[in-house]
């Protein structure tokens, strides 16, 4: 028994050493960002590896959050036309929430049909969606740019609106969403719906009131991935949006990278601020992530 206990202890120590090493590796770049962001010298790299440099200050955070972004102005001569953090945040939230809303609504609806109905074209349809997963978003840039340029809403090409951007991102996240949600719906017993139908519910009613509440983990994962793609996407945003008023946080971050110099402290301060919403969303949805991504794969 004591030998067993000693073994257990050794195993625990080994595990802890291994996991602490991984923790150190994971945290290292993040702490590097923090260390630069609070450095008072606004230099590109600290000359020594210390977490809290001498004279550490939150000035960079204050600047990022409260001062106008002078590179992003409709008219550089007038500071009132420059973007502020709140405007950038609003744009980013709109694109990210739009993408996750579209993904979850359209994805769940299509996945439900693929999971529950037997219909003409089912296999082909499903295969078609999965084949689209292989299409890199960047592979459609050239034609999408040309096409969305031609569709105008109130004199403005759809390409350069935030809704247009969210729709374009949704097309990128839908194939995986449908595939993942379908796998999850497959594991929800059919009898539950049948019981609801016998009780007089419509098919849509049963779907909304019986299936969706049971599929919360997979829905949460869809919302999360949609949010992430809308929040961080850069390529299309950079190509499609023109007016600085529409710029997102990711674009503001990119535009801080000057050709010769970058204000590193403010750059990393904005980077850290921008990381907060997705990290919080991850933590909030963490208990759903594992089952939401794997239940369909394990049982189906």
């Amino acid at each position: 028994m004591t030998k067993h206990k000693a073994n257990e202890l050794l195993k625990q120590i080994g595990l802890q050493i291994f996991l602490l090493t991984i923790t150190a590796i994971v945290l290292f770049p993040i702490l590097w960002m923090v260390s630069i962001a609070i450095d008072p010298r606004n230099i590109d790299k600290p000359l020594e590896l210390v977490l809290i440099p001498d004279g550490a200050t939150l000035r960079a955070f204050k600047q990022v959050l409260t001062e106008p972004y002078t590179q992003l102005c409709a008219n550089p001569a007038e500071p009132e036309t420059c973007m502020t953090f709140l405007k950038l945040l609003g744009n980013s939230l709109m694109v990210a929430l739009g993408t996750s809303l579209f993904s979850v609504v359209l994805g769940a609806s299509a996945a439900y049909a693929f999971s529950r109905f037997k219909f003409i074209g089912r296999e082909t349809g499903l295969l078609g969606f999965i084949a689209l997963l292989m299409l890199p978003a960047t592979a459609t840039i050239a034609p999408l740019y040309v096409l969305l340029n031609q569709i105008k809403f109130g004199g403005e090409p759809l390409r350069s609106t935030l809704v247009g951007l969210a729709v374009a991102y949704t097309s990128g996240s839908l194939p995986f969403a449908i595939w993942n949600l379908k796998g999850y719906f497959d594991t929800v017993p059919k009898e539950l719906e049948e019981a609801a139908l016998i009780d007089g519910a419509t098919v849509t009613g049963a779907f909304i009131r019986v299936i969706l509440p049971l599929a919360v983990p997979a829905l949460a994962v869809t919302v999360l991935l949609g949010f992430m793609s809308g929040w961080t996407e850069f390529v299309m945003a950079w190509l499609f949006l023109e007016s600085p008023e529409k710029f997102t946080l990711a674009m503001a971050l990119r535009s801080m990278q000057g050709q010769f110099t970058t204000p590193w402290s403010t750059f990393f301060a904005l980077a850290l601020v921008m990381s907060v919403p997705p990290v919080l969303l991850f933590f909030a949805l963490q208990r759903y992530i594992v089952s939401g991504l794997t239940v369909g794969g394990v049982k189906g």
Binding site: Q12, L15, L19, I25, V26, L27, P29, W32, D44, K45, E48, S109, A110, A113, F117, K118, F119, I120, G121, R122, G125, L135, P136, T138, A139, T140, I141, A142, P143, Y145, V146, L147, V167, T170, S171, L174, P175, M228, W231, T232, F234, V235, W238, L239, A250, W264, A271, M274, S275, P278, V279, F282, F283, Q286, I289, V290, T294, V295, G297, V298
Partner: protein, 350 residues
Amino acid sequence: MAETSLQSQTQKQSGAANKFWRSIKESLGAWAYIAPAGLLMMFITFFPQVFQAWMAFTDYRITNLRFNIFNPETWEAFAPEMVGFENFIRVITSSLAIENYDFVRLLTFNIVWTISNVFFHVVLGVIIALALNAKTLYGRRIYRAIFVLPWAIPGLIIAFTWANMFDRRFGAINQLLGLVNEWFGWAINTDIRWLESAQPPIGGILSFLPLSFYAVLIANIWLGWPFMTVIATGALQSIPTELYEAAKIDGASGWQQLWKITVPLIRPAMIPAIMVGTIWTFNNFNVIYFITRGGPFGRTELLVTQAFKLVYEQRLYGVAAAFSIVVFIVLMILTLIQNQVTHATEAYYD
């Protein structure tokens, strides 16, 4: 008797007709559910692809942007010229007037990049999931929370951070090496030009990979394993513990349990994740574009970053379209091969 059989026959016929109508009706119902997603994909992905296929055969340039497919008045003045297969030929034979463009090198590099990344993601992801899934582990919840960070922090930001850390002068990595030297009295070079050096660190067959490849590989491994850990965790939690207890009674060692129980049972969940991971890594834009920018001399360029440059920097829409179609075909072939291989091995395990 004859009458009843006749009756049942007509009944059967009308039953079949009913069934047919019912299946049509149900199909319409099902397609109504799919329509919103289907229309969006049709418009944003499929239609542009068809348009792209047409563009690929033209010399579409910036001047042709005023060409509007929905407006016949612009057709004559701004329509691009048809050039046949010229774009494809130029893409594949590397005869584009762009610096450092070599299709075979791009493709080889892209494949090596994908395989090496996915390999490390899966191996590390599974090992860490196994450690986190140990029966008794102190701090499990804290580890789980920390280990999601590389996935939760936007990839764009991580890429910028690693680019800064790999900097030659006072970059975190070189400083860390200096610290290691100090601790152990070693003399590792602390002036390594991680991203600029064209000298391959490993010669022979791997000499086409510059040092910056290993640098971005490290950055992308850091970024990619948590996804695999999450999938592996879900799969591990679905394995009944009785299996391990039975194996223990039969005298199986820990190693045998791993290879005979754990690995075969997490396979079904890992394979789709690996396929998705392969596609994501193959097209991983952020890490390459923001860390090495494809350098030095375009040797770490991926197909997607090259496509982006064709559109954004060169504005060669026709060539970019042909290029993207080639990339799509390559990816399709690779996925089919991968599917074939994984299916084959699956049958072997069953």
